[in-house]
């Protein structure tokens, strides 16, 4: 073999791996990068066992992202260029992860029937009320519900902002919103009251 310097190369490699890991997390974006992660130290399956005994097995998906470096580039690559390329790799990883997460979420909500058909219409206050009516909300000690994360493209975000504004400012819509939240709070209280050891 030719002379080599494995120790420093290993150190650099670890730092670059760290960079990719951090950047792919950042590329996932707010919302998706708030989802809990945990390491599986052994085994090859992960199963959620629901209170009613039903088991939901997590589908493992391999996420791949590739970059290539031409041999002729190697002598002249700068650190910035390497980081830029790795950032591209991280973006690819994040895209793959995001697709899988969204698909898993979609499959999950379809399975339990938590779907509101938008019929290709813009996100409206009425649609938001319908969505919130279907989901479970948790509240804190001050009576505020735990913040939710909405996923959507930039147009959907603008539409959501407008819809929430209307829910706040339009008196009729506001009344509907407040009634809905009150109903959700009562459901939450009933749930919390059910947390007991009987007998």
């Amino acid at each position: 073999m030719l002379p080599d310097y494995p120790e420093i190369r290993d150190e650099i490699s670890r730092k670059l791996e760290d960079f990719v890991r951090k950047r792919s997390w950042e590329h996932l974006g707010p919302g998706l990068n708030e989802i809990s992660r945990s390491k599986l130290h052994e085994g090859d399956a992960s199963i959620i066992v629901r209170p009613d005994g039903q088991e939901d097995e997590t589908d493992f998906k391999e996420v791949l992202s590739e970059i290539s470096i031409d041999q002729t580039d190697v002598p002249n690559l700068t650190l910035n260029e390497i980081l830029t390329r790795l950032d591209g790799l991280a973006e690819g990883m994040a895209r793959g992860q995001a697709e899988h997460i969204i698909k898993s979420l979609s499959d999950g909500v379809e399975r339990v029937g938590n779907v509101v058909e938008g019929k290709a219409q813009p996100l409206s206050p009425e649609l938001i009320l319908e969505v919130f009516d279907k989901i479970q909300l948790d509240f804190d000690e001050d009576g505020k519900f735990q913040p939710l994360t909405m996923l959507g493209g930039s147009n959907a975000s603008k539409a959501a902002e407008e819809a929430f504004r209307q829910l706040e400012e339009d008196p009729k819509l506001r009344k509907k919103w407040e009634t809905l939240i009150q109903k959700k709070k009562e459901q939450w209280r009933a749930r919390e009251a059910d947390r007991y050891l009987a007998g």
């Binding site: 130290h41 399956a45 199963i47 066992v49």
Partner: protein, 554 residues
Amino acid sequence: MLERLIDTWLDSSSERAYQAPFCQMLVAEGHRIIHSTRHASIEFGKDIISIGPDGRTWAFQLKGNPGSRLTLTQFRQIEPQLQELLTHPVTHPGATQGWHRSFLVTNGQIDEEVSLAIERINVGNTKAGYPDRILEVISRGVLFDWALKLGATLWPSELKNINDILELMTFDGRKPLPLDRFHKVLGDSLRVLEDGQNFKSEADFRRHITSTALLVALSIRNFEAENNHYAIMLAWLLFISYAIAAAKKWGWNYKRNCSDTCQIARDAIRKSLTRLCSEAQKNPALLQGNPFTDTFVFRQRHTLVTALLSLHWFWSEDEGWPDQTQKEFTEQHLASCFQHTWLWGEAAIPQMLIYLWHLGERSASAVTEWSVGSLLEIVLTANTRDSEDALPPPYYDEQAVLRHRLTALLGEQSNELRDEQISGQSFYAQSLLHLLVRTNYKSKCKVLWPDFSRLAALEFKPSPSWAYCLWRAEHGENLHHQPPLTKQWTDLVDEARDCSGDGIPFELLSDRYLLMLFVIALPYRGTPSAIRFLGKAYSSGWFIPPPVERVESQ
């Protein structure tokens, strides 16, 4: 290369270090070991007693002469003990009729003057009418040949992890035993890893068991040299658990093929526990090394040593104390060391539990019941959803947790926990709840239930079940149990009554000391089933309907 390794091992091992592997070699030569001394002082000149392949009782006295020779001066010093060996009968109940054969064993060479001195003793005894009282010698050459014969079963073609073995042999003996490397070496040797193939015959399996025992002895020489008692314990413990796994995986009878060799390993574990206690007697403050850095690790060391001393107490109360001073020291020390114990992670929970069980057995008060409730409360509070102080899962050992806590000093890169969200879940909450239910403190359980119902109860179920014995299992299910909002007390009681040890191989279940040490060493194997079983084995407090236990015939 094998010769070189055995050479190196023989030339660096103390008498204590080669005693267990010497027993393994005797077993390989057809002996049945009936006694192997644990004590500092030997009994009537006999360190080891066996029934030899000739059906006679053999008695051995071991001397350590690593890399040197037994000189006449040294021989004269041990001559009284040798006379005891020759002249005192073996009174062990397992000994056969007739006079025993006597052996002086050394891992060094014998000086010519010593050979002559032994010759004179033997001639003298024969002329005096005691032809049976002949001192025979097993020196380095014989040990080397026996070890080579054992090792040849494994080397060179079958073992893939030569590098791992060499790394273990040169590993810093002051460090914790590198479990990942040991897993590869044992797993490869006993063929419990993914691509292993069955042994050719029962005899081949048995040979591999004793050869692997020799491999363990070679691998831990640096830990022996540093008197790293806990590392030595773990090495022999894993040998036993991997032997169980191999027997189960390939369908060989464990009792017939492994139990003799594993009994020697068990004795070695017990010896190391005794030595740890001796060391603690001399250093009751449990401090070690540079005080500036010891301050960071002291409480974790203290908690672990407290757990091991608690285990030593239970074990010795059952099978006999090495000496009375150890009993007095252990009881005094454990009565007063609570303030330094530390729940640094879920991995420390088994350590806390064996200590609490010891306190419970020593005291007539409800200390255990009260403490288990407090322990559960701490876990539920720490691991609540969005908590930033959650207890790390039991896969993270002392060093990993310290790196996590000291990122300001050590940097983020070495922090294994950096990307993991650990709140909202617990491996041990369910086990602790079951232990609390057994105390029948229903009101306490009711108070804690709402918080318990908010945590996911985690558990790993290896597949197949023998993989429970391994450091890591290739296959198996990571289970996340979501508790119901409402639970019936009677259902919880039924769960808590289950002491069957489901999922744990019978051979481990049948030895509560080894199982407890196993769960201390690999705390993620402290499944609810294991903890319920151990709770019944170590704590007499039981205030609900009778336990449901496993019935298994061997």
